[in-house]
C-alpha cells in the first residue's frame, strides 16, 4: 500500500527525512490552520527535538476520539491533541492511552490531576456576535428571539458537545424545552468549529457558538472592534482542552518530550494569540494586552469528566429529537 501511495506522489518527501524520527500528532483542523498555533508550535518543537513533528487534522475534537477508536492500536499517531474534559472519561475507557505525569503549575480553574491527559488550554463557550446587534442574556431569551445562530454537531465537535453540557448545566430537566425552542434559531449544524465560525464571518448567521476569547482575535490581531460575545446571566460552560499519549506509540520518549514542551513557556506563549484560549500554564510574560479576564467562579459552569460522560447520551438524544422536528 505504501508503494501505491508513493506512486501517487503522496509521500515523496518522506524518503528524504527517513532518518529523522517522526512524531505524529492528530489534532483538530483549526489547530493546524495557517493562523492557528500549528505552524509556530511545529517550528518551535522541531528546533529542540531534532525530529519531524507532523500534525495532522482529523476533523473537530470529538471526531478525533472516534478516529482513535477506529484506528485502535494500529494508529500511526503518537499524540492526540484536542480532546476535552467532556470526552476524557470515554477516551480513558478505550484503554488506548498511556498514563503520563507532566508536572506544571496549572492555571486551569479547579486545578488539574489526571494521569492520562495533560491540559494545554481552556476557555468559556459563548455566542459571538457583531457589536450593535440586539443581544440576549440567556438561552431562554435567545430561543424567544429571531436571532439566527450556527452551532456545531456534538458528536463531532467539542464546542457542540460543550453546548449540550452548557444547556444541561444551566437548565437541568428543562434542557429539552430549551432545545425545542432553539430549533427555529438554528441556521445549520456544522461538523466542526471552523465551518461554523467561517459561516458566521461570511454573514450566514447572527451568532456563532465559540468562546468568550474569540472577539479578542478580531480586536488584537485585526484591530477590529466589531465583534463581541453575549454574556449569559446563567453563566458560561468551560472547556479544558487536553492531549494524551497513545499506548501504541513507537516514539514514547519523543511523545513525553512533546507533552513537557506543551506545558512550557514557549508553547503556552503561542496559545493566547493563535488558539485564542487561556493558556493552561500562565507564561512568564503573562497574557497579552486586551485579552479578556476569567469569569467569576459563580459564572463558570463545568461538569466533572465522569458526570459529563453520564449525561452525554441522554443529552444527545434530547438534542437530536428536538432538532429533527
Amino acid at each position: 500500500m505504501r508503494s501505491l501511495s508513493l506512486f501517487a506522489g503522496l509521500f515523496l518527501t518522506s524518503a528524504a527525512v527517513a532518518d529523522t524520527p517522526v512524531l505524529t500528532v492528530y489534532t483538530y483542523d483549526s489547530f493546524i490552520s495557517d493562523w492557528g498555533p500549528g505552524p509556530a508550535v511545529e517550528a518551535a518543537f522541531e528546533a529542540q527535538c531534532s525530529c519531524d513533528l507532523q500534525m495532522i487534522g482529523a476533523g473537530d475534537g470529538a471526531e478525533l476520539l472516534s478516529r482513535v477508536k477506529l484506528e485502535g492500536t494500529r494508529s500511526e499517531a503518537d499524540i492526540i491533541l484536542g480532546l476535552d474534559t467532556n470526552l476524557m472519561a470515554d477516551a480513558m475507557k478505550t484503554d488506548l492511552f498511556e498514563p503520563v505525569s507532566i508536572v506544571a503549575d496549572y492555571a486551569v480553574p479547579n486545578g488539574w490531576n489526571n494521569k492520562f491527559f495533560t491540559p494545554f488550554d481552556w476557555g468559556y463557550f459563548a455566542f459571538v456576535q457583531n457589536v450593535g446587534l440586539e443581544t440576549v442574556s440567556n438561552f431562554r431569551e435567545l430561543a424567544d428571539s429571531d436571532l439566527k445562530i450556527v452551532i456545531q454537531d456534538p458528536r463531532s465537535s467539542t464546542p457542540g458537545l460543550g453546548l449540550l453540557m452548557w444547556v444541561k448545566a444551566a437548565y437541568g430537566a428543562d434542557a429539552k424545552k430549551i432545545w425545542n425552542d432553539l430549533n427555529d434559531n438554528i441556521v445549520t449544524v456544522t461538523a466542526g468549529w471552523s465551518e461554523a465560525y467561517g459561516m458566521f464571518l461570511e454573514g450566514e448567521a447572527d451568532m456563532v457558538l465559540s468562546y468568550t476569547t474569540s472577539p479578542a482575535y478580531h480586536i488584537i490581531a485585526e484591530q477590529d472592534n466589531s465583534k463581541t460575545f453575549a454574556a449569559f446571566d446563567e453563566g458560561h460552560y468551560m472547556q479544558v482542552e487536553v492531549a494524551g499519549k497513545l499506548r501504541s506509540t513507537d516514539q514514547p520518549i519523543l511523545a513525553d518530550q512533546f507533552l513537557k514542551f506543551m506545558v512550557s513557556d514557549v508553547f503556552q506563549d503561542i496559545i493566547p494569540t493563535t488558539n485564542w484560549m487561556f493558556p493552561a500554564v500562565t507564561p512568564t510574560g503573562g497574557l497579552p494586552d486586551g485579552f479578556p479576564k476569567a469569569l467569576s467562579a459563580k459564572k463558570s459552569l463545568i461538569f466533572s469528566p465522569s458526570d459529563a460522560a453520564l449525561l452525554r447520551e441522554d443529552a444527545l438524544l434530547e438534542w437530536q429529537a428536538a432538532l429533527s422536528q
Binding site: D29, A62, R67, R74, E195, E202, A321
Partner: protein, 521 residues
Amino acid sequence: MAGSVIAISLRLIFGGAVITALLTFSFGTAAVVALRGHGFGPLLPTDLSAIRFTLWQALVSAFLSVSVAIPVARALSRQSFFGRRALITLLGAPFILPVLVGVLGLLSVFGRSGWISELLLFFGLGRLSIYGASGVILAHVFFNLPLATRFILQGWSGVPAERFRLTDSLGANSWSRFLLIEWPMLRGVLPGAFVLIFLLCLTSFTVALAVGGGPKGTTIELAIYQAFRFEFNLGKAASLATIQFGLCGIVALLAFLVPLPKVGDIGLDRLAHQFGARKHRRLDIIWISGAAGFLILPLSAILFRGLGGILSLPGQVFSASITSLLIALISTGVCIFLALGLSLSIAYSRLNTQKIVEGISVLGLSTSPLVVGTGLFLMIFPFVNPASLAIPVTAFVNAMMAMPFALRVLIPAVRDIYNEYLHLRLSLNMGRGIWLMRIVFPRLRRPVGFSAGLVAALSMGDFGVIALFASPDLQTLPLILYRLMGSYQMDQAAAVSVVLVAQSLFLFWIFDRGGRGHTES
C-alpha cells in the same frame, strides 16, 4: 469442437464469476453488516425521523424533477434556437458533475450570502436560507431535472413526426394531440424516470452532508456516516445500513416492474416536431431559459469565483489530482473489463437471460455506497487498517457502482452486433480471434469509450466511500474540496472545483473521443 466447448465453459465461468461478484458486492456486504449490527433492534426516534426524511425528500425531489422536466422537454422538443444542441449536451453534464461542486455552485447562488440573497437584500427583502430540507431538495432537483429532461426528450424524439402530422391533418387541437400521442408516450417514460431519480435521491449522502443543516435534514446514508466517523458506533452503522438496504431493495423491486430509461445520447439533437412551436413560443422560452439559468448560473458562479485562483493553489492539490486520476483509471479499468466480459459472455444466451443480467445490474443502482463501504470496512477491519486500503477499496467500489451504467450501454450494443453479424461468422466459418478482433471489437469501440468516460468521470468526483475510509493524510480532489468548504475558504474551494471538473470532463472526453475513433472526424 473441443475448443469451442472450452470457450463456452470459460465464458460461463467468467460470466458467473462477475454475476457472483455483483451479488456478493450488494448482498454479501449487506449480510456482513446485518450480522455485525443488532439486526432489527429497537429503532431510536432519531433513526425513524431519518428514515422518514429520506423517503420524503426522495419522493419530493423525484416528483419535482420529473414534473418540471415535462414542460422543459416539451419546449426543447419543438423549439429550434441558437445553442439548442449545446444546451442539450449540457443537460448531460450534471450526471457526471461532482456533487460537491454542484453544491458549492448552488450555495454561491442560493445561499444566505449568495447572489439571490444579495439581490433580495437590495430590494429590502430577507436572505434565503437553504440549509435543511429545502437545500437538499434544491440540490437534488439541480442534479436530476436535467436527467429527467433528457429521458423525456428522448420519449418525444421517439414519436414519429408522421403521427403529429396525422393528428394535425385530422384537425386535432393541442389537447387531443396530448391525449392521443403525448400522454401515451409520457406514460411509458415517466415511471422509469421517476423510479430512477427516486433511487438516486434515496442513497443521497454528499448533498445531505453539505446542506442538510443538522438532524432535521439527515438522510440514512448520512446517519450511517455519522455513526461511523463521529461516534465510531459500528453496531449502529450496521443497523442503519440494514434498513437502508431494505428500503433500496423494495425500490429495486419496483424498478424491475417499470422500464428504466436508457443511458445514451442518441438522436436527442434532432427536433421531434414543430407542431405548436409558434403558438407556444413565449411559454416555451420561459421554461427553457428558466431551466437553463437554473443549470448554468451555479456552474458559472464556480467558474467566475475559481478561475482566477487556479494558479495560486497549494501544491497538495497537484498530488491530490494525481491520486484522483489514479482512482478513476483503476475503477474504469476494472469496471469496463468486468462489464465487457459479462456482456460478451451472455451474448449467445437467450434474451430472457440477458434481461435478467441487466436486471441484476440494476441492483448496483440501488446499492448504497455507504452500506457497501460499511460492509467492506467490517470485513477488512480485523486484518489491516482500512485506511491503508482506501485507494483500492474506493476504486473497486466506484467500479461496481458504475457497473449498471456500463452494462446498460454494453449489453444492448453487444446484442446488436451478434444479431447483425453472427450469421456472417457462421457462413464464413470465421475463427474466434478474427471474429472478435475484426467484427466485434471495432464495433464496440464507441459504446466502450462512452461508458468508460462515464465511469471515469463518476469515479473522479466520488465523495462517499472515500469519506468513510479516508485517513487524515489521504488527499483526493473531492476530499480537499470538502475540507476547503469546511474551513470556508470558498475562493480556493471554487478553484479546486474548476480543476476537478476540468479533469473529469477531460477524462470523459478522452475516452468518449477515443471510442469514436476516426469514423466521425
